[in-house]
Amino acid sequence: MNQSFIKKNRFIILVLALLLVLDMTSYSVARAQQATSYTYAEDEDGYWVRTQDAYLPYLTVTDLSLSGAEEMFIDANDILYIADTGNKRIILFDLNQGQVINEIKAPVMSSPRGVYVTKNGKIYVADTGAKAVLIFNNDLSFERAIYKPDSPMFADTNYEPKRIAVDDAGNIFLVGEGVYNGIIQLASTGEFLGYFAVNDANLTIAQRIQRALFTREQLANLIDANPTVFTNVFVDKDGIVYTATSGMNHNGMKKHATNGGNMFVDDVYSNPELIDVYVDNQGMIYTASVGGYISVYSKNGEEVFSFGSAVRTQDIAGLFTRLSSVAVDSKGYIWAMDATKGYIQGFKPTEYASLVYSAMNLYEEGHYEASMEKWNEVLKLNQMSVLAHNGVGKAYLHAENYEKAMEHFEVANNKGMYSEAFWEVRNDYIQDYLTAGLIIIVVLLIANAVLKGFDKKYGKYTALKGKVSEKLKNTKVIRDFYWAFKTNRKPFDHYYEIKKNRQGSLLGATSIYLVFFIVFMWYQAGKGFIYQYTDIEDMDITSIVAGFFAILILFIVGNYLVTSITDGDGTLKQVYMIPAYGLMPAMVSLIAVTLVSHVLTYNESFLLTLALMVGIAWSAVTIFIGLMTVHDYTFKETVKSFIITLAFMFIFAVVLIIISIMSESLFSFFGSIGKEVFWQ
């Protein structure tokens, strides 16, 4: 626009600008309602916890007379496009004006179920009835239809486009009715390019058989209400494809790389009834589930909020009878559709949500300091916000304030990032104290040598040591306990001593079991933060204790029973002792792992795994040799008796479960007879 034009038309431009400003604020003025459902976020253990309201119910559009509409889309000018399936039209609703501004009707349109508008204003409609993709120009005139591709690869496949998205190159992504292979990808010309993303890996065998044999009606009538199928597809402003899949608790929402693979590294929680996915200009991802939940994710797939309720509406704003679509306008307002009631419900982000988003954006843009300030404000409103603790932690990490970062990552239970921060802290520590530590070690070594020299001369220490060890050796329990350290070094010889009742005792074995149990519990609960995967309060102590002893007792009893009918020599007492005297390597490795886990980061986790594996394998081999020696079995016989013992354990456990279920049923049977007699 040249200067003189502006000068000449100042007045009009001013008025236009004024109108624009007025118009922009026109619906943000109205106040949102109170929340009608709670907002949840994931806590440090991945459980849902309540948080400040993120979105509040806002304007409702109830008078569009929609018929079976399921999908909508918002373009860059905040025009809402609704695929009004039953009325065979696409409605254009201007969100700023709050009114219908146009509609697309065409003879070819039969049951439009999906709609997508490209950057250049072309409107793509997925029409299951017409079995076609219908394309309209930005003046709403009909351009062309894309019917079933004639590629032989596509020959037998059903072609009823249900949902649609289009990338900048004009590639079309379709969710097809009854197509389970994946997202159908068509070139702009309509040529079949293949299946873009595939979900098949998650099908159970039964589901595969059903898919292969059943008709569509039968499939629809299956009891499994949430089959693993693609329910929606979306292309964001950068051309990235997103899909929604129902029937999955995790990773039902995917962000796809160009090869179709999932770009999210970590597991992403997703509602099994997922029906829609939408991405705003900032890359925030929104999903809707049929049950009535709307979730918001960061561009990396971290879940930010979830709100809504499974309660079917009583016409309360913000609750849905059947939520079918979600879309987001340029102001960040969410618009959601109730397919049964035909409502469009708006949601306005709260100050809290805006704060969270601005903190996330600042971090993304590299303004770590500023983002930390915002995150701290978020923490004021919700001290339990894992997102905020992670945000502050990351900002500290960037600022190289690793200890502060560790604090926040610990609250957020972010073990990976904690490990990174800890690595740095440990590194500093090692650098600071390495020299001092080495000096101390050298000094101690020298001192030791000197002392030993003295001792050689005077022999006081050796005498004392001899006395103490003599006394310990004479205490039977300690001697019997100590035997366990020997068995794993020469298992054949030392188990033979046990077989001959010359070494080891019941008391010794029992004390080993008890010590092992204590070590085991310590291992369960006492590892360093990075490696302690379950919190103590989340542990089911009863089942750990009961499980530990039940398995042990079952093994001993089972092995004794099995070996006594297969000519094993071992007595019950000996069978009781065999595992105990083989446990030492496992016990030592558990102690070592538990101790070392406090100073290791994830980079060295293989050390722990290795130590644990060696310890357990060593113990297993020792116990195996113990069984062989005590029962006087060949290798083959030992393997056989071992397998039969395992089978016995399994059968016995099953019998126990059956008995408990039977007795419960019997009890309730008599109970209900009593009640029936009373009520009839």
Binding site: D23, A35, D63, F93, G98, G318, E351
Partner: protein, 798 residues
């Protein structure tokens, strides 16, 4: 040059006009949120309702009452303006009027006679619904497991007769032959009121046990509909839309909500306001569950009303007896196949419930053998004009003031004896609870007695003087594992002496600190159900599954309610123990939940008995202690000194167009009123303005420790309580509200108007002094009464 300028100006003006036009259309598609009060309806033109076939039965200087015997319709006429409201739609049955016209045509009467005889008849109601629409009383009855309707004005199967007992007193004897029920309804006319009573013992007949409910005057004040109107030119009937009365229904949803008479495209479910909440003992199923939706608010008062036009005619209706069985029903235009908005009170007499006989869920539906036994007393009070004559105006404000006057006359509420100039603030503390430990449960500590003392003293020294505080979770291992009356202390929070010293030290500073207790919920870890929990009508203990709303691994997730007798007994015991410590007591649960109690022989405590028991019990306690009650039902208002967690707005039903402070208008000046905790999404500027608008004092819930210590406890929903985070907000919110409301703290709230959308003017009066508070919710300054109020702020006009 000049011409060009004119063209440009014209173009600009046209653009502005286009914009304004489109702005005007804005409301067309959106249903704006029901959060605010919008401008009043326009004038109603439905003034002169015909009363030709009616008999005048009673009149005074203001109102004349007419009765139409064949249709059971009572007409109420404002003598000054002639505006008429009728208790029924006053429609002829279609067949009757069509036959009549046919006959007249056959007789060859003159056109004038034909036109005079040709009444409008309903275009979208069948004969049953015409009966209901006309009726003074409709009975809902069970026919097998289904509910059917029969009205006192039915085409057949029922007849009624109005007889005069004395001046202004009448008896309507109704005989519902078809269902073998007869009853007497007494009508008592006084000044602007009709009082309707139905004595329980006068309900007779073999079909009595089948009565499901009584619906009174279902079409009183209704609007909408399609009618057949006689065309004087063609002399034929033509179908057309009936006149849409501009107006609204007031429902006691939360603080009060207006459902305007709208034409709806969508089909809405009926509004059902169960007065005093659900009776969990007589629900269809004894089991229920909480989910992640915010539960809809239950009416705490048995009142509703309808207003026509802008200050023209309105009524407010309330129940003095039978309120505990009352539902307030609003059917919307477009629902039930008809285009009327109609509202009425429903009194439940019997229920359909599922009788289980085993744990697996086998059972059958049945109804009670004996109907609920209670008298009904229902009043309709009529309001006329805009209030300029000194009477209460015919709008929701007038309804509130009229109802307030009625409650005062009956001693349900009383003027507060002492009103402080500074408004009060409520600062509750969450002290502790239990969570799952390595073995069993372990104590969680959020705030100790010393910390409470430190915080309260700090705030008091900081300049806020009128403070009161409730202590929540003060027991060893929290309130869910202790019976309401149990006083087990733990040193980690504070010993008995610590609490004594805290409360007395604070009392010296003028801060009232009280123990808070939820006193209606029970779980099996707290006490055995036997003898303590509510048994439902099906003889099973009422059970509520809260696992969806509790943290992942709760100590217990199934709860029930304490039965009324035990609840009363336990609260009395608690009172005995508490009175050693404090001069006040904070109760929740028992203040808001009303249930009956059954055993296998039938009713043990009826809803009415339960209500009376709580009234008596809390009345007794209130003689010794101040009572701070959380959202109390109306029957406890007499004993409420502080109303905590007062609802602000309704349940956000889509069809609710406005939220109004009806409850606040009724109770202002009779007790201290507190808003919900500002911690949880109630801290924004908008919320502060709303507290000023609704005349509410702020409240906070605080802890010393960060709130994540509570994350595995029953209080996991208190996600933001740490004092240091709220210290500034407490002062800023309090000072903002106090600076306005302290100006009117000893005055009566007498008016509330909305001169433009999002601007509210509240009027307060004390003798001859009058003050106004202008609340500007908009994002631009506004000027009223000579005062400019900044965007999103409020000001007092003296």
């Amino acid at each position: 040059m000049k011409i060009k300028k004119t063209v440009k100006t014209a173009l600009a003006l046209a653009l502005i006009a286009a914009f304004l036009f489109s702005a005007g259309n804005r409301t067309f598609a959106y249903i704006a949120t029901g959060r605010d009060t919008k401008m009043p309806p326009v004038k109603s033109e439905a003034i002169n309702g015909k009363t030709d076939d009616f008999n005048l039965i009673y009149e005074n200087d203001k109102i004349a009452y007419y009765w139409r015997d064949d249709r059971d319709v009572l007409a109420i006429k404002d003598k000054e303006t002639g505006y008429v409201m009728k208790t029924g739609a006053d429609f002829p049955f279609a067949n009757d009027i069509k036959d009549k016209i046919k006959k007249l045509k056959k007789q060859g009467v003159s056109d004038e006679e034909l036109i005079a005889a040709a009444e409008d008849y309903a275009g979208d109601l069948n004969a049953t619904y015409v009966g209901i629409a006309n009726s003074f009383l409709t009975i809902e009855y069970f026919s097998s497991d289904k509910i059917k309707y029969i009205s006192s004005a039915s085409e057949s199967g029922a007849f009624s007769e109005l007889t005069k007992i004395s001046d202004g007193k009448f008896k309507l004897a109704a005989d519902f032959e078809e269902i073998e029920v007869s009853l007497n309804i007494y009508l008592d006319f006084t000044k602007n009121e009709i009082q309707i009573t139905v004595p329980s013992e006068e309900i007779k007949g073999n079909g009595k046990k089948n009565i499901a409910a009584f619906d009174f005057c279902p079409f009183l004040g209704a609007s909408g509909g399609v009618i057949n109107r006689f065309n004087p030119v063609t002399l034929e009937y033509e179908k057309m839309d009936n006149y849409r009365v501009p107006g609204y229904v007031l429902v006691p949803d939360g603080s009060g909500a207006l459902i305007r008479f709208n034409d709806n495209t969508a089909v809405f479910d009926s509004y059902i306001g169960d007065v005093y909440g659900k009776d969990y003992a007589t629900e269809t199923y004894y089991k229920s569950a909480l989910y992640d939706d915010v539960p809809a608010k239950d009416p705490v008062m048995p009142v509703f009303g309808i207003a026509h036009g802008n200050g023209q005619m309105a009524f407010v209706s309330w129940a003095d007896e039978g309120a505990e069985y009352m539902d307030i029903i609003v059917n919307h235009d477009g629902s039930k196949g008809a285009s009327y908005t109609w509202a009425y009170p429903r009194f439940e007499k019997n229920v359909n419930f599922f009788q289980l006989y085993d744990e697996k869920g086998n059972g059958f539906f049945k109804q009670m053998d004996d109907i609920f036994d209670y008298d009904i007393s229902l009043t309709y009070s009529f309001l006329f004009g805009d209030g300029s004559d000194g009477d209460y105006p015919a709008d929701y404000v007038g309804m509130a003031l009229e109802y307030r006057e009625h409650l005062m006359e009956n001693g349900v509420i009383n003027e507060m004896k002492y009103r402080n100039e500074d408004i009060p603030i409520r600062l509750d503390f969450i002290m502790g609870d239990a969570e799952k430990g390595l073995f069993g449960t372990k104590q969680v500590v959020a705030t100790t007695t010393d910390e409470v003392e430190e915080i309260l003293s700090g705030i008091s020294e900081g300049g806020i003087k009128n403070i009161n505080s409730g202590l929540i979770g003060w027991q060893k291992k929290g309130e869910s594992l202790n019976k309401p009356y149990e006083m087990n202390f733990t040193g980690s929070i504070g010993s008995k002496n610590d609490f004594k010293s805290l409360i007395s030290k604070m009392a010296d500073k003028g801060i009232d600190v009280s123990f808070a207790r939820e006193a209606i919920t029970i779980n099996k870890k707290m006490a055995a159900y036997s003898g303590n929990a509510v048994k439902a009508i099906s003889n099973w203990y009422v059970s509520v599954d809260k696992s969806e709303v509790l943290p992942a691994k709760p100590i217990i997730s199934t709860f029930s309610y304490i039965n009324p007798e035990t609840a009363a007994k336990w609260v009395l015991k608690l009172n005995d123990k508490v009175s050693d410590f404090s001069k006040s007591l904070t109760l929740s649960g028992i203040s808001n939940v009303l249930t009956s109690h059954y055993n296998r022989d039938g009713v043990v405590t009826s809803l009415t008995e339960s209500l009376e028991l709580y009234e008596k019990t809390l009345g007794g306690i209130n003689q010794d202690l101040m009572l701070n009650l959380e959202n109390p039902n109306q029957y406890l208002w007499k004993y409420t000194d502080r109303y905590l967690q007062m609802p602000v707005g309704g349940s956000q039903f889509i069809y609710e167009n406005d939220s109004v402070p009806f409850l606040q208008l009724v109770l202002c000046g009779t007790m201290e009123m507190y808003a919900p905790y500002a911690n949880f999404s109630f801290y924004t500027d908008d919320c502060v303005l709303r507290m000023i608008d609704y005349n509410l004092s702020p409240s906070f819930i605080l802890s010393k420790a960060p709130s994540y210590v509570l994350s595995d406890s029953f209080y996991s929903y208190l996600y933001s309580t740490e004092y240091v985070l709220y210290e500034d907000k407490i002062y800023s919110i309090y000072n903002r509200i106090n600076s306005i409301l302290s100006e009117v703290s000893s005055m009566d709230w007498v008016g509330r108007t909305v001169p433009e959308n999002d601007v509210v003017i509240n009027s307060y009066k004390d003798g001859n002094t009058q003050k106004h508070i202008i609340i500007n919710y908009t994002e631009k300054p506004v000027t009223y009464m000579g005062i400019t109020v900044n965007a999103e702020s409020a000001a007092v006009v003296k």
